[in-house]
């Protein structure tokens, strides 16, 4: 065997690097979050063991192999020795030990997230501060989802690993008609949702049909729905949930998705997962300019900022639909699998 193969064989023979995970994923919940997707792909690569010990914080009790660390002091449940652990939630920052895991991943600024409880925001802030001042052991690999988060924890160089998309999304058959259609997917809540932008785009006159998935029951959303119904009538459709297969059936040449986020520190700390999802589906996107992932070419985006002219939306919709070949290439480059491979190579360098 040549040197490269021998090294790979040695790595394989050495077994998984990580066999325990501390995160926010509640047992039995869906597996669509960044930590869940990354761990699943890392398991497929043999980096995380097939049955890792799991520790979750939150209200859900221990079950299905996942132990509950509770809500008040989740960091206390971490063991003293954290080699071979992955800490994927900053809430474990209630304990300084959390920064000494083999792999720490940070995504979205939980210390200012409007949907995170105040105590956990404090823990997250301490965690980030600790990482920044390097309470992390020299053996800890730290990755982040965005340049903001990388700066927040003092990362330099290669530590940014953006979000991704499941490969299967790229091969879903689009079967939507040629209607000018706007799709907006929840969650919607104050502090993240730009209700004004939402209303402006939906009532711009550019769309014959507006479909809102998972609108939720927040009061501002109810008010918005009421207002939109008055303007759009039957052209407004709400659905409790739209999975990717259903979205594909709605995606046509003049279908666009709107990401109606406010531009603030919290949303800037995110790497919009929906962007990857919609582009993989072959759907063009209307998005606040500053929130567009900087490493992605905005060729199929309509970026909105101060002075934006929504009057050109019909022209834009009529132009340049996304070819399947582009979708396939995009998914290949930005899949969760490719992200996991990146983390694997970073872990190998770290060793």
């Amino acid at each position: 065997m040549d040197t490269v193969k021998r090294d790979s064989a040695e790595h394989a023979a050495a077994g998984p690097v990580l066999d325990a995970v501390a995160w926010a994923v509640q047992p039995g919940s869906g597996s669509r979050t960044r930590p869940a997707r990354l761990v699943a792909e890392l398991q497929a690569l043999g980096v995380v063991s097939s049955e890792p010990a799991r520790l979750h914080h939150g209200s859900a009790p221990s079950s299905g192999g996942s132990m509950s660390a509770g809500r008040l002091l989740p960091g206390r449940s971490l063991p003293a020795e954290l080699a071979r652990w992955a800490v994927l939630s900053p809430v474990f920052g209630s304990s300084r030990r959390a920064a000494r895991a083999s792999w720490v991943d940070v995504y979205d600024d939980w210390s200012i997230a409007p949907d995170i409880n105040p105590l956990h925001r404090v823990y997250a802030g301490r965690f980030y501060s600790g990482l920044r001042h390097n309470a992390a052991a020299a053996e800890t690999l730290v990755t982040a989802n965005s340049p903001y988060m990388a700066s927040k924890v003092g990362l330099h160089g290669d530590g940014v690993v953006p979000n991704g998309v499941d490969e299967s999304v790229g091969s879903l058959l689009r079967s939507g008609d040629d209607v000018a259609r706007l799709i907006v997917l929840g969650n919607f809540f104050d502090g993240r949702t730009d209700w004004e932008l939402f209303a402006r785009v939906a009532t711009s006159g550019a769309f014959h049909e507006v479909i809102i998935g998972h609108p939720g029951s927040a009061a501002p959303m109810k008010a918005l729905l009421s207002s939109l119904r008055a303007t759009l009538g039957s052209r407004l459709i709400t659905r409790e949930w739209l999975d990717e297969r259903e979205l594909a059936t709605l995606t046509g040449p003049r279908t666009a998705a709107l990401i109606p986020h406010l531009v603030n520190d919290y949303t800037l700390s995110q790497d919009l997962m929906k962007v990857y999802q919609f582009l993989a589906l072959g759907m063009k996107i209307i998005c606040p300019r500053l929130l567009w992932p900087a490493h992605l070419e905005p060729q199929y985006a309509y970026l909105v900022d101060f002075g934006a002219d929504l009057g050109l939306l019909p022209d834009w919709l009529a132009h340049d639909s996304i070819p399947d070949t582009w979708r396939a290439s995009f998914v290949g480059e930005h899949s969760w699998k490719s992200r996991a491979r990146r983390i694997k190579s970073l872990l190998e360098e770290w060793e």
């Binding site: 340049p147 900022d305 002075g307 050109l312």
Partner: protein, 670 residues
């Protein structure tokens, strides 16, 4: 030189654009390709193409069409990337209402080539459509309250053909960018224009950011460039420009931090005035104000300039706090390096060696805060001053400077472990320990002198390894080998010099001399003074060494070379504390560099240099009572030859200092 043009068109005035394209068409050979980004409708695209055909520029034009508006900054960033990716040697960022006369661009390019710098360039720009020669922009300037303006706008233009001067910035209406400058700004700051800005003020921000990485903005005096300019100077009344102006003023503050031009206080006052005016009078700008605040963390955290130390033409200004003795090798060497290698301007705040920590703290505070805010870019806390770590932090903050803490010697290891002034765990010991840790954690850069001590700082105090820089003590220039004197009467001459610190293990040295059974007569000279010298002399008498050990008072450093030259062996340190096992003492460096055999206690730190001094470094375990005596015996039996490791040792030290230079020059905060 192939100079491409880049132009961003947003709701363009087609008539004005047509005039600009016609002016370019008068001398199309002076540029390569014209890269256009149009934000507009299909109809506007058609109109643009007609104008290009009409001007005869269609073949040399590359159009990117978008329906949304990505802004001036993002737009030109994309176009510049395309132009340089296509092989342009330079690019001229051009507004659609800026005219370029025949041959003017060629002259500008020639002037840039002759100037031959990594810089941003811009020509003197006159106002279009005036009979007299009225200036539109002679570079960007800044007011004391943090507003930028086009120098000379509206005044009679004084164009001194051939003159090139450095200015604070160049207007984005006509900005000449050599490829090497573009590449450097991308590499050193992450981007060309900061596209958080959308439009307005990004050229002013660029000028400041560029200067921080040693890229000046240069104004080239020549004629041939005219600007129509729809938004002029400090006038208000256009909703979107006003909103973006407010937003971007705050963005500049968040992005540049202490580097924002202006006098501190006045600029903040102006910020307050602008904010109040928005709330009271110009509520149409409120969304801009709100967004600037909403993205403040993002703007500051992802800034590529806030933590920077300015490099380039201006010398680095350093404040060195707490120097007790400017001739002490540690600070002397660091200062010499800063002044001679980096060209820094070093100001010392000295303190005496007498008692009175509070009195000396007051000196440091008073003298550190007396100069105007921002007077220094780097504050260094000198050796032996860790107790003033938080004061140094205060002074550094005041100046917006990076703090370098020379964590050379800790309080706890000296006072508790060496001098036993308090019991471990006692309240005083805990305070000293806390001061040690605070100083270590306060520094943006933490210096120490060996890799072992660096590991200790990381492991014991939680300092980030990236912040720690090892600067070995090294040897002064006088420490060079001199020929060994012939031995008289079979005498081995042994030299100790120092302050009789517990670290040195003087009692152990004396007992070892007494125990040695060398074939040679061992004669020792002890140079120096200190609290424990009297005890050492008493022990020497007790051991019957009076005729073999000579005690001499301290000598000037210049004389030390002579004393070392007379010795066969130089003694290092033999204390038993953790500190003793982690340092490489001054005298060890000096003795080795002088080509002498040095005997010192075992230490992991010595592995850094042992390979550089074959045959000269002898280590012993001071826990073994006979070890030093045996070592002296062994040396006595072997002739010692001359050896000159000084160059190797110096190269080792220089390489380590080089890392400090990189850290200070890159100006990156950890």
């Amino acid at each position: 030189m192939r100079v491409d043009l880049t132009m961003v068109l947003y709701r363009p005035d087609m008539a004005e654009l047509g005039r600009t394209l016609d002016s370019l068409a008068e001398d199309p050979d002076q540029f390569g390709l014209l890269w256009l980004l149009l934000s507009g409708s299909d109809d506007q695209r058609r109109q643009l193409e007609e104008l290009l055909v009409s001007a005869g520029l269609a073949e040399v034009c590359r159009v990117t069409h978008r329906f949304d508006n990505i802004g001036f900054a993002s737009g030109h960033n994309r176009l510049l990337a395309q132009a340089f990716g296509d092989g342009a040697d330079a690019a001229l960022v051009l507004n659609p209402d800026t005219r370029v006369a025949p041959d003017a661009l060629r002259e500008l390019a020639d002037a840039v080539e002759a100037d031959d710098r990594v810089a941003l360039y811009g020509p003197t720009i006159l106002r279009a459509g005036t009979d007299a020669t009225v200036a539109d922009s002679m570079g960007i300037g800044w007011t004391a309250d943090g507003r930028h303006f086009d120098v000379g706008q509206g005044e009679l233009a004084r164009v001194d053909a051939g003159l090139i001067v450095t200015v604070d910035g160049v207007t984005g209406a006509c900005l000449f960018v050599p490829e090497r400058t573009y590449a450097k700004l991308l590499r050193d700051t992450g981007w060309f224009f900061d596209d958080t800005f959308i439009a307005y003020r990004e050229d002013a921000e660029l000028g400041v950011r560029a200067s921080l990485v040693g890229v000046p903005s240069r104004l080239v005096h020549l004629e041939g460039f005219e600007h129509v300019r729809s938004v002029r100077g400090f006038t208000r009344g256009a909703t979107l420009p006003d909103l973006l102006g407010v937003r971007n003023r705050l963005l500049i503050r968040h992005r540049l931090g202490r580097h924002r031009p202006g006098r501190w206080g006045l600029d903040r006052f102006r910020d307050a005035i602008v904010t109040a005016a928005v709330y009271l009078q110009e509520r149409s700008s409120l969304p801009g104000l709100r967004q600037a605040r909403a993205i403040r963390r993002f703007s500051t955290q992802t800034s590529s300039t806030r933590g920077r130390v300015r490099v380039g033409d201006a010398p680095l200004r350093v404040l060195y706090l707490g120097i007790e003795d400017p001739t002490y090798p540690r600070n002397a060497r660091i200062r010499r390096f800063l002044e001679e290698e980096i060209g820094a301007d070093v100001t010392i705040v000295g303190i005496d060696k007498g008692p009175g920590a509070i009195r000396k703290a007051a000196i440091l505070i008073r003298q550190g805060l007396r100069p105007a805010r921002g007077s220094f870019q780097v504050v260094i806390l000198g050796e032996f001053q860790v107790k003033y770590g938080l004061i140094a932090k205060l002074v550094a903050r005041y100046h917006g400077a990076r703090l370098v803490v020379d964590w050379f010697v800790g309080l706890y290891e000296t006072r508790v472990e060496d001098w036993e002034m308090a019991r471990p765990g006692s309240p005083r010991a805990r305070v000293w320990r806390w001061l040690d840790q605070s100083a270590a954690r306060a520094g943006d850069v933490v210096l120490t002198d060996t890799d072992e001590r660096a590991k200790m700082l990381v492991a014991d105090f939680g300092v980030s390894p990236e912040r720690v820089t090892v600067l070995p003590v090294g040897a002064p220039s006088w420490a060079r080998p001199a020929p060994l004197a012939e031995r008289h009467g079979g005498t081995l001459r042994v030299l100790y010099y120092g302050g009789y610190l517990p670290l040195h293990g003087v009692p152990y040295i004396l007992r070892s001399i007494a125990r040695a059974r060398s074939v040679l007569r061992i004669e020792a000279v002890f140079i120096g003074g200190g609290e424990r010298r009297a005890a050492a002399e008493s022990l020497s008498r007790e051991l019957g060494l009076v005729d073999r050990v000579q005690f001499v008072d301290s000598v000037p450093e210049a004389q030390l070379a002579g004393e070392i030259a007379k010795a066969d062996v130089v003694l290092g340190v033999f204390g038993s504390s953790p500190k003793a096992s982690s340092v490489i003492a001054n005298k060890v460096w000096q003795g080795l560099s002088s080509g002498r055999v040095v005997i010192t206690r075992e230490s992991k730190a010595l592995s850094e240099i042992s390979g550089l001094v074959p045959g000269l470094l002898v280590t012993v375990d001071p826990e073994e009572g006979q070890a030093l005596a045996d070592a002296l015996d062994a040396i006595g039996e072997e002739p010692t030859g001359i050896c000159d490791p000084s160059a190797r040792l110096e190269a080792y030290v220089a390489e380590r200092y080089g890392r400090l230079a990189v850290q200070l020059s890159s100006g990156e905060s950890p």
